[in-house]
Amino acid sequence: MIRHHLGLQDASVLATRHLLLTRQAIADLVDAEAMGAIVGSAGLGKTFAIGHTLQARNEPVISLTFEARPTMRLVADRLMHALTGAPGKGTRFAMTDQLLSALSERTRLIVIGEAQNLNRDCFEYLRHLHDDPGTRFSLMFDGGDGCWEILAREPMLRSRIYRRVAFTPLTDADVLALIPTYHPIYADIDPELLILINDKAGNGRMRNWAAFTATATSICRTAGSDRVSEAIARAALTQLGTGR
């Protein structure tokens, strides 16, 4: 079961437009063994949407996240380790050869998190593995700010992106339609209060909404309330440092 941000309890999975698009994109990528990208700035729920989708699917998935600027060798090594459980051996060409063979064995999905950290060479390397006629995998980049710019700048990458989902913040209309079902504390909430919370804390970002909800839930518990009132909302905003 995928975990909500901050381990938020009792929260439901919102069927946002982006989550539904992500689900469809992953299905299409797997079917076509193609490359795709889920992009958008931090906190919009990309990784959650991918994780939620993948837990309902059966194909083997390899998820790799590169925090710092990785080299081609590191990408190859991490991928080999994920595929075989052992680090890559030998020269880079030997490791590439082993990777190509391992990636030819069965259909699988590879998800590269924080893809904006990859440089051009790393993208090229993954593309090289994917282009090989023998390999059988779909490749999805999950990237924050700058990821799409890197992909779009290179025609050889952009032309290979079969599905792209660009996450954007929830609009006010989205918030009014979806957030009341997000958590029990929002049942019957005043729409104006919801908009206030979104303006002050949520900003249409699911990560912010999770942080606010976790804080408000705690205050509700202390106050013996099961719903967010304006007072509870303002207290939560104060705790989050966004209450002015």
Binding site: F93, A94, L100, S101, Y125, D131, M156, S159
Partner: protein, 408 residues
């Protein structure tokens, strides 16, 4: 070699172009498509990319791949046109090596596929578009090498063959026959030396392998060579060879595994093992000249595996990897025959040196009968109460120079 390459510019590096080229390579004879990895400023990376496109795999690689390996396998697979995708990753020095080794040395046409800008080194090279590349006529693959027919040799006793062939064949033919005879003899001798406790049937099996030839003459010369080794070792061979009767049909997985080898001798050993069912020990006896254009030891090799045979060196030396490197120069040391020894041991003693003699009175009757029979072939002389090997026999056993000048 001012314009060694053709250049195809695929400005957007379109996946459709890549796929089309790979599909083309599957159906067009003589075309190989290899993708250059991003780190291809190193020559070895490019060499390996080409080898991989030909089915080689790194776990079957015994040493760093050299251009010789690349050109050997390109030639063996009858590739006449090599397309390198993402040529923008190739350094100037690698381009130079490609021009020298692939274009210059083996005459294979190379098409460099660039996305974005092309290299300065290829500015003068003619360009080609995808449609032209896909549809242009391709030279038919060179016809299969045909094994040179062996000359007809006289059907004489093995110990006479060298002598009589020398008298009857042209010098060039004789030299070839003599080399083959010596190689077969040497292979059999070495095997006997390394298998001192071999059973009669094992010896017969080894003898049968060494005696296998691509045609009647080839087989006869080889059989004589094997016989000479057996005679020189003083061994009687009356057992029947027990060789596997069934050969194995290779499937696509087997073929992929075979093509993974970069070393053709290792690939051929695996192929031979599966086709013939023989042990590695016996396969170590197989020489390059026993490998036909489409067969190993009379077992038909499937078309898909023929490049492995093409890549092999076809000398008289061991064809395969494995336990082939027996000590070929060593010989048996015969001992002086005892009274109850048969003709085989006595002949071995006589053949070891022209100075050895066996007194007639010391030998059993049946041994004397056999040696007298050899005397009828001019191989043993009975002089002054003792048997000696004739000059012809000593020459035939590679123990002495030619007894008479050529032409006599």
């Amino acid at each position: 070699m001012s314009t060694p390459f053709e250049v195809l510019v695929d400005r957007d590096d379109d996946i459709a172009v890549v796929r089309k080229l790979h599909r083309l390579a599957q159906r067009a004879r003589g075309l190989c498509v290899a993708a250059v990895p991003p780190d291809s400023h190193l020559s070895v990376t490019v060499r390996w990319a080409i080898l991989r496109a030909l089915g080689k795999r790194s776990h079957r690689l015994s040493a760093m791949p050299q251009w010789l390996d690349v050109t050997r396998w390109l030639t063996a697979n009858r590739i006449t046109e090599l397309v390198l995708l993402r040529a923008q990753h190739l350094s100037e020095s690698v381009l130079t090596e490609l021009a020298e080794e692939v274009v210059g040395r083996v005459g294979i046409r190379v098409v460099l596929v660039y996305s974005g800008t092309t290299a300065a080194a290829t500015a003068a090279c003619p360009s080609i578009d995808l449609a032209t590349l896909a549809t242009r006529p391709r030279p038919s693959a060179p016809s299969q090498r045909r094994q040179q027919a062996w000359p007809a040799v006289p059907r004489v006793h093995p110990l006479r063959l060298r002598h009589d062939a020398r008298a009857k064949l042209r010098e060039r033919e004789f030299q070839e026959v003599q080399r083959l005879l010596a190689a077969a003899c040497s292979a059999m001798s070495a095997w006997l030396l390394h298998h001192a406790n071999a059973s009669s049937s094992q010896i017969a099996a080894a003898h049968e392998i060494v005696s296998t030839g691509l045609d009647q003459e080839h087989a006869f010369i080889r059989r004589c060579g094997a016989d000479i080794a057996v005679l020189a070792a003083g061994i009687r061979t009356d057992a029947a060879a027990q060789l596997p009767a069934e050969s194995y049909d290779l499937n696509a997985t087997d073929l992929s595994k075979l093509h993974a080898f970069t070393d053709p001798r290792a690939a051929a050993l695996d192929l031979a093992r599966q086709l013939t069912g023989l042990t590695e020990d016996l396969l170590g006896l197989v020489a390059g000249d026993q490998i036909g254009d489409d067969q190993i030891l009379n077992c038909r090799v499937p078309d898909e595996a023929l490049p492995i045979l093409c890549a092999l060196d076809r000398g008289f030396g061991p064809a395969f990897d494995g336990r082939a490197d027996l000590a070929r120069s060593k010989r048996h040391e015969a001992r002086e025959p005892a009274t109850d020894d048969g003709a085989a041991a006595t002949l071995a003693w006589l053949l070891e040196s022209g100075r050895h003699a066996a007194r007639v009175g010391d030998l059993a009757e049946n041994a004397r009968a056999d040696l007298d029979e050899l005397g009828c072939h001019g191989l043993v002389v009975n002089f002054d109460g003792a048997y000696r090997a004739s000059d012809v026999a000593l020459y035939g056993a590679f123990q002495r120079a030619a007894p008479t000048p050529r032409g006599h």
